[in-house]
C-alpha cells in the first residue's frame, strides 16, 4: 500500500478548525526561504522578555493555543516540560520581531506548516530521544515525510495517540488497505478498537521488519499466542520459521486468517505418497474436505508434544 500521509479523514477536520494556519503572513515564502529565515532567527536567539506571557498577549483567545496548558507539554510545574524552560519558544523558536505585527515567521507544525517534516520533527526529537524512536530515521514514516504533528497533538489535554480508541482511526486514514482488511471474514478485533495497530507495530519505526515491536514476526505473534511458542517435541518447520507462511495478520477472506482454505493450503506444500495430495473434488463429501479437512487428523498443526506425534495428529 502506498502510505504517504494524506490530508485524510483524520486530518481534514483539524485543518478546517484552524484556517488561520494557512493564512499566515509568511505564507508567500517558499519552503527554502522560510527555513532560512527561521534558521537565522534560531541562531540569533532573540527570545521574548516574558516567555509565554509575551505570546499570550495576542494568542490567548485562540482555544487551540490555550489547550496546551491542559496537557503535559503545558505544565509549569514539571521540570521536563517545555513550559519549565523556554516555554512557547522552546518549540516555536525565538520570538524575535514576530510580536511587532506578527509578520515574522515562527516555527509551526502540522499539515498547515510549510516547514519540511525533518525540520518540524527536529523540535520533537530534541527531547524525545529514547529507544521508542530509535529506528525513526530509517522508518517508512520518516522516508514518507510524515511529521510528528501529523499524528500527535500537544495543544490538547491529551494527545489522541495516547487514546487506544483513536489510534486505529489515525493509522487507517492513510493505511486504507489495512482498514479494509479489518472487515474480512476473519481478522483481529481491530475494527472495534479492541486491538490497536501499535500492539504489533511501532509507528516510529523498528529495527525489525514491518516496523514490528518485537524482534521477529513470530515473537510478535507469541505476545498473545504464547501457546504456539513452544518449543515442542515435533515442530512444523514453516510454523517455526514464519507465522505469515500460512496466516495473514491483517485479515483474510478465509477462516482463521489463513491465506487459503484447507485442504488447498496444506496441499500447496504436501503431496507425499498421494495421501496428502488427494484431490478433493468438492468440499463436504469426504473427511478430506469436510469438518476441519486435513486438520481432522493433523489437528496439532502448530506442533505436537506427544511422543508419537510426529505427524502432528496427537
Amino acid at each position: 500500500m502506498i502510505s504517504t500521509l494524506k490530508i485524510s479523514a483524520f486530518i481534514v477536520p483539524i485543518i478546517l478548525l484552524f484556517p488561520a494556519v494557512n493564512a499566515a503572513p509568511w505564507a508567500d515564502l517558499s519552503q527554502t526561504e522560510l527555513e532560512q529565515q527561521l534558521e537565522q532567527k534560531f541562531s540569533e536567539g532573540k527570545y521574548s522578555p516574558k516567555g509565554a506571557d509575551s505570546c499570550l498577549m495576542c494568542h490567548k483567545r485562540d482555544q487551540k493555543v490555550m489547550a496546551l496548558f491542559q496537557g503535559v507539554h503545558g505544565a509549569l510545574d514539571n521540570s521536563r516540560s517545555p513550559m519549565a524552560g523556554l516555554q512557547c519558544e522552546a518549540c516555536h523558536g525565538p520570538m524575535g520581531k514576530h510580536n511587532r505585527g506578527g509578520k515574522e515567521p515562527m516555527i509551526s507544525f502540522g499539515a498547515g506548516s510549510k516547514l519540511s517534516s525533518d525540520s518540524q520533527n527536529s523540535v520533537c526529537l530534541g527531547c524525545h530521544n529514547d529507544p521508542k524512536q530509535m529506528a525513526w530515521h530509517n522508518s517508512l514514516h520518516n522516508l514518507e515525510q510524515v511529521a510528528c504533528a501529523d499524528c500527535h497533538q500537544v495543544h490538547a489535554a491529551e494527545d489522541p495517540m495516547l487514546n487506544p480508541l483513536r489510534i486505529n482511526e489515525a493509522c487507517t486514514s492513510c493505511h486504507t488497505r489495512a482498514k479494509a482488511d479489518m472487515s474480512k471474514r476473519s481478522a483481529h478485533p481491530l475494527k472495534w478498537d479492541r486491538m490497536t495497530c501499535i500492539d504489533c507495530h511501532n509507528p516510529h519505526g523498528s529495527l525489525t521488519e514491518s516496523a514490528l515491536k518485537q524482534t521477529s514476526l513470530n515473537t510478535t505473534c507469541y505476545e498473545c499466542h504464547a501457546d504456539k511458542r513452544g518449543p515442542v517435541l515435533w515442530e512444523h518447520a514453516p510454523v517455526v520459521e514464519n507465522c505469515a507462511n500460512c496466516h495473514k495478520a491483517h485479515g483474510s477472506v478465509n477462516e482463521s486468517l489463513l491465506k487459503a482454505r484447507v485442504p488447498q493450503l496444506c496441499q500447496q506444500c504436501h503431496a507425499d505418497d498421494g495421501h496428502a495430495a488427494r484431490a478433493v473434488a468438492q468440499g463436504g463429501n469426504s473427511a478430506f474436505g469436510a469438518g476441519k479437512s486435513c486438520l481432522n487428523c493433523h489437528s496439532q498443526i502448530h506442533g505436537s508434544n506427544h511422543p508419537a506425534g510426529s505427524l502432528l495428529s496427537r
Partner: protein, 664 residues
C-alpha cells in the same frame, strides 16, 4: 519527454537551497541572551481539579447468536450495562492522574489508570476483558472432565468462545541526571492474562472426531529496562520474559489414554542491549538480543517413549545495525544489516510412532529445527523538487535452515517510488518492486527424501518472482473535500514449481471520500474491492489442477451533524458492508459456497441537557451471514464426526441509553 526534463530542472534549481534540513531542537538553542527568570506565564495557570466525563450505559441486546457479541461488544441476549470514563485529575506540584474506561462491564471492555508526575514517575494499572465469540451451538458427544473425554449418547451443545482477562501494572521512574553520564530512567511492567473457554479441535479415535477443546491457560509477562541517554546518544538494557501455563491436561478416552497431548507450559526470556549515536546528521542504531525459549513438561509415558520429560531449549540471537544519514536537504541514505539465529538445543531421542510413517518407519527421532537468517537493506530518498520525491531501495535476505527441503534460500528485491504533487489539489504516488527468490538446490529433506514428490516445491521455499505495483491518487479540489484512490497489483510467479502453488495474484483498489460540508456537518464514503487468485497443482495418481479465486468488497458511509438545537444536539450515522468470498475450482468441479457478508449500522444522537449532563441514544444493527461448504452435519460423512454445521445467519440489534456527567 518534457515531464522528466522539468523535474530535472527543478531539482537543479533547488540545489541552491539550504544544504540540510534545519535542526530546531531545544538543546541547540542559542540561549545566551535569554533570561527565563521573567518567564512567569501568569495567564496559563490552571487550577487543580478533576475534569472529563463519566458515562453510565444501559441497553438491550436482541440476538440469537453469540457471534453478534463480536460486533456489539457483548454476547448476551437481553439487558446489558457498562461504564465509560475519561477523567483527568491535576493536583498541585505537577501530579496528574487519568482514568479511562470503555464498555467496562461488557464482554469486551477495559479500564486503565495512569498516575504520577509526568517526566519523573508514573504508575499504570490496566484491566481488559477481551472475548472472541465463534459459535453457540457446537454439538458434541464427548464430555470433558479433568482430562477425560467421556462419550455420551446425548449431544451436548457448547459455546465456542474464548475470553481473555488481562491485568497489568507498570511503573516508570526517571532518575534524572546521573553524574556526568547522562539521564537515567527505568521501567518495570507485569502483565497477566487468563484465557478460558472452548475452541474447536479434533482427535483420532482412530476415526477423526471433532470436539470442543476446553481452554484454561495463563500467560505471565514481565518486562523491565534501564535507559541512559546523553545529548546525542542513548542506550537501553532491557529484559522481557513470559511464562505460559496450561491447566488442561492431556486428553484421554475411557478406552484409550492420552490420545491428545496438551499444549505444554513454556517460558521465553529475552535480554536486549540497544543504543543510538548521532554524529551530525548521521544516526547509528544497533541492537543485540539474546533469547531463550524453554519447555520441560513431562512427556506422556507410553511404550516407545524413552524419556520422562523432554528438555526443550531454543536459543535465539538477534543483531541489527542501522545507519541513516541526511547527505543534504534533498538526499537521505539509509542501510541496515540484520542477523537472526534460532538454535534448537533440545534433547534428541527416538520415539516409536503409532502411525506407520512410510518415510521413517515406526521409529522416528525428533528433529531439531535450526534457522539462521541474514539480511541487508539499503534505501535512498531524494527530493527532486518541492512536492516531488524519488525513493528507491534494495533488500537482500538469506535464510539457512536445517531439515528443510531447501537448506538455503536467497531473496533479492528492488523497489522504487515516485511521489508527485502534480498540481495543487492532485498528488500521485507510484511504486514498483521486483523480487526474486532462489537458493540452494531444492531436494527432498533429510528425513523425507525417499517419498516426497520430486516435482513438489513448497511455496515458502520455492523459486519465486514477485512483481508488485501500487498507485495512489489524492485529490483535494476544495479545502473541505478529499478523495483518495489507491490501487495495487502483485504477481507471485513460482516459475519452477510443477506440483504445489504455481501462481498467485493479488490486486484491488480502495476509494475514500471525506467531506467537511460545514463546520457542523461532516460525511465520508469508502469503497474497495480486492481479488486474490491462486493456481496450484497436485498429484495423487494423476496430476490435478485447482484454481482458487477469492474476492472481497467493502463499502462504508457515514455522517455527523453537530450543533443542532442551540448547540445541544449531535446526530450521527455510520454504515458498513463487507463481503468475503472464496471460490475453489478443481477438475472435479466447484466447491460449495464459501462466503460471508455483514451489514453494520449505527445511529446515534447525543443531547446536552445542560453544561454538566448529556444523554445519548445509540442503535446498532448487525446483519451477519457466513457459509462454508465444508461444514457438514455431525455424522454426515462416514468415518468423520463433526461439531455440526457451524455457519451463522442472524440479525442482531442493540439499543443503548447513555447518561454522561461532565466535569468542568
Amino acid at each position: 519527454m518534457r515531464f522528466p526534463l522539468n523535474l530535472l530542472t527543478m531539482a537543479l534549481l533547488g540545489l541552491s537551497g539550504s544544504a540540510m534540513a534545519a535542526d530546531f531542537s531545544v538543546n541547540r538553542a542559542n540561549t545566551d541572551k535569554v533570561n527565563t527568570s521573567g518567564f512567569q506565564c501568569r495567564q496559563c495557570q490552571l487550577a487543580p481539579g478533576l475534569s472529563g466525563e463519566v458515562t453510565a450505559n444501559a441497553g438491550y441486546n436482541d440476538s440469537d447468536d453469540i457471534h453478534s457479541g463480536n460486533a456489539l461488544g457483548d454476547g448476551r441476549d437481553g439487558m446489558i450495562a457498562s461504564v465509560d470514563a475519561e477523567l483527568g485529575y491535576r493536583s498541585q506540584g505537577g501530579y496528574r492522574s487519568q482514568l479511562r474506561a470503555h464498555d467496562l462491564g461488557l464482554d469486551n471492555g477495559f479500564v486503565s489508570l495512569r498516575t504520577g508526575r509526568p517526566g519523573q514517575y508514573q504508575l499504570a494499572l490496566d484491566y481488559r476483558n477481551l472475548t472472541r465469540f465463534e459459535n453457540s451451538d457446537a454439538a458434541t458427544r464427548l464430555w470433558h472432565d479433568k482430562g477425560l473425554l467421556q462419550p455420551s449418547p446425548n449431544l451436548r451443545y457448547l459455546d465456542l468462545e474464548l475470553e481473555r482477562q488481562q491485568a497489568g501494572i507498570g511503573l516508570s521512574y526517571d532518575f534524572g541526571a546521573l553524574a556526568s553520564l547522562g539521564n537515567l530512567s527505568s521501567y518495570v511492567r507485569y502483565d497477566r492474562e487468563e484465557k478460558q473457554g472452548h475452541r474447536s479441535a479434533s482427535l483420532i479415535t482412530p476415526r477423526p472426531v471433532n470436539f470442543a477443546l476446553p481452554v484454561d491457560e495463563s500467560n505471565d509477562k514481565l518486562r523491565a529496562g534501564l535507559q541512559l541517554s546523553g545529548h546525542n546518544w542513548f542506550t537501553e538494557l532491557a529484559y522481557q520474559g513470559s511464562q505460559y501455563n496450561n491447566d488442561i491436561n492431556n486428553l484421554s478416552l475411557p478406552y484409550a489414554t492420552d490420545l491428545y497431548s496438551a499444549t505444554p507450559d513454556n517460558q521465553a526470556h529475552q535480554l536486549t542491549l540497544n543504543g543510538q549515536y548521532r554524529l551530525a546528521s548521521t544516526i547509528f542504531s544497533g541492537r543485540i538480543v539474546a533469547g531463550r525459549m524453554l519447555q520441560d513438561e513431562g512427556l506422556i509415558q507410553m511404550t516407545g517413549n524413552p524419556l520422562q520429560s523432554w528438555d526443550g531449549q531454543v536459543n535465539t540471537t538477534d543483531a541489527n545495525l542501522a545507519v541513516s544519514t541526511a547527505v543534504n536537504s534533498r538526499l537521505r541514505l539509509g542501510g541496515q544489516l540484520d542477523y537472526r539465529k534460532r538454535d534448537n538445543d533440545s534433547s534428541v531421542a527416538e520415539f516409536v510412532q503409532l502411525e506407520l510413517n512410510p518415510v521413517s518407519g515406526a521409529i522416528r527421532q525428533n528433529p531439531l529445527l535450526d534457522i539462521e537468517r541474514q539480511s541487508a537493506r539499503l534505501n535512498a530518498s531524494y527530493r527532486l523538487a518541492p512536492g516531488y520525491r524519488l525513493q528507491g531501495g534494495y533488500e537482500f535476505k538469506q535464510v539457512e535452515r536445517s531439515y528443510g527441503e531447501r537448506e538455503e534460500t536467497r531473496d533479492h528485491s528492488l523497489w522504487a517510488k515516485l511521489g508527485m504533487q502534480l498540481v495543487s489539489p492532485l498528488r500521485l504516488d507510484l511504486k514498483a518492486s521486483y523480487g526474486d527468490r532462489g537458493g540452494s538446490r531444492y531436494q527432498a529433506g533429510e528425513l523425507t527424501s525417499s517419498e516426497t514428490n520430486s516435482l513438489l516445491r513448497k511455496y515458502h521455499l520455492a523459486d519465486r518472482r514477485r512483481t508488485a505495483m501500487e498507485m495512489g491518487l489524492q485529490y483535494t479540489p476544495l479545502n473541505w473535500m478529499t478523495l483518495d484512490f489507491n490501487s495495487h497489483y502483485a504477481l507471485d510467479d513460482y516459475r519452477d514449481t510443477v506440483i504445489g502453488l504455481t501462481e498467485s495474484r493479488d490486486y484491488g483498489y480502495d476509494l475514500n471520500l471525506s467531506l467537511q460540508l460545514s463546520e457542523r456537518l461532516s460525511a465520508y464514503g469508502t469503497a474497495g474491492q480486492q481479488w486474490i487468485s491462486s493456481q496450484q497443482n497436485g498429484d495423487q495418481l494423476t496430476p490435478w489442477h485447482s484454481d482458487i479465486k477469492d474476492n472481497f468488497i467493502s463499502l462504508g458511509a457515514g455522517l455527523a451533524y453537530s450543533g443542532l438545537l442551540d448547540e445541544r444536539l449531535t446526530l450521527g450515522a455510520d454504515y458498513q458492508f463487507a463481503n468475503s468470498e472464496g471460490n475453489t475450482l478443481t477438475e472435479g468441479g466447484a466447491y460449495d459456497d464459501y462466503y460471508s457478508f455483514n451489514h453494520s449500522a449505527e445511529l446515534y444522537g447525543r443531547y446536552h441537557l445542560n453544561d454538566a449532563m448529556a444523554l445519548k441514544l445509540t442503535y446498532r444493527y448487525e446483519r451477519y451471514f457466513d457459509t462454508d461448504g465444508n461444514e457438514v452435519g455431525i455424522d454426515a460423512v462416514t468415518g468423520l464426526t463433526t461439531l455440526g454445521v457451524l455457519n451463522h445467519n442472524y440479525n442482531a440489534h442493540q439499543l443503548m441509553l447513555s447518561f454522561s456527567y461532565l466535569l468542568p
